[in-house]
Symmetry: C2
Subunit: 155 residues, 2 copies
């Protein structure tokens, strides 16, 4: 596997592990009709080569008191490299911020914010996000329902 291409076996392994990374080599080998050692080797290489970045446990957000999910659109006052980097650095430190993307178009950043409730969001907005230098405007949108939520890319 010198070249960077994934064969059908690799793709199937990635497909399966994206859905359920608790599958062990024996189970994978059964599903793939390959030997355990082969599967073991393939998985090791997929990790080594960085196709699999990490394996994580996904928690039930509502069970750990993160009932409110919001998207915050952030506009900055200035757009120098420095301003952007500073905002990115500071916003990443807030525990409520799950994701931060710099965007094209109408606003500068989209944040995905997880808090326990609206009060907590309000406090986050007032005491954390709005206090960052160069933040001009924040538009907040709240999730009514999660219709689809997938970490697995189709392969």
């Amino acid at each position: 596997m010198m070249q960077n291409n994934l064969d059908p076996i690799d793709l199937e392994i990635l497909r399966l592990l994206q859905k359920d990374a608790t599958l062990n080599n024996k189970e994978l080998s059964f599903k793939l009709n390959k030997s355990i050692a082969t599967v073991h080797d393939r998985v090791r290489k997929l990790k080594e080569q960085g196709y699999i970045k990490r394996v994580v446990a996904i928690l039930d957000r509502k069970k750990i008191d993160r009932n409110l999910l919001a998207f915050s659109h952030v506009f900055l006052k200035a757009h120098t490299a420095e301003t952007l980097v500073e905002f990115e650095t500071e916003v990443a430190k807030f525990s409520e911020v799950m994701e931060c993307f710099q965007m094209t178009g109408a606003y500068d950043f989209i944040l995905r914010i997880a808090t326990s409730d609206m009060d907590a969001y309000h406090l986050f907005l007032r005491n954390k996000l709005a206090t960052l230098p160069n933040v001009s405007t924040v538009q907040s949108f709240f999730v009514l329902s999660e219709t689809k939520s997938d970490t697995a890319y189709p392969l």
Copy 2:
């Protein structure tokens, strides 16, 4: 553990497994200063009780040719229960749609779309999303850079 509260040991286990679910019981037991059997028991219960919904492999999106990430804001023409459910059902079938949220406020849904490039997004928009009944307007925003991307909630 009859009541639904997590003690500091459970919280620490969840913290660790959210970051790296490849940690085995021996490693966890070392970090927690507990026996392997105790850790094993705790993790089993956390899964049983649904705190850990699933364990997944996170892939490097760019290595599997999903270079473009977009957020699409969707406005519907009508808002009957039927219309909403139909949209949710149909949009979830598209492989480009990683997430779909129904939202409060200015637009009805936010979609997170992963495609290989702008051409693929264009095709998705024209041939899939825009063809759904009752879709009024779609605003597309593209990710310039991922500043923070976390699946782990702070505990």
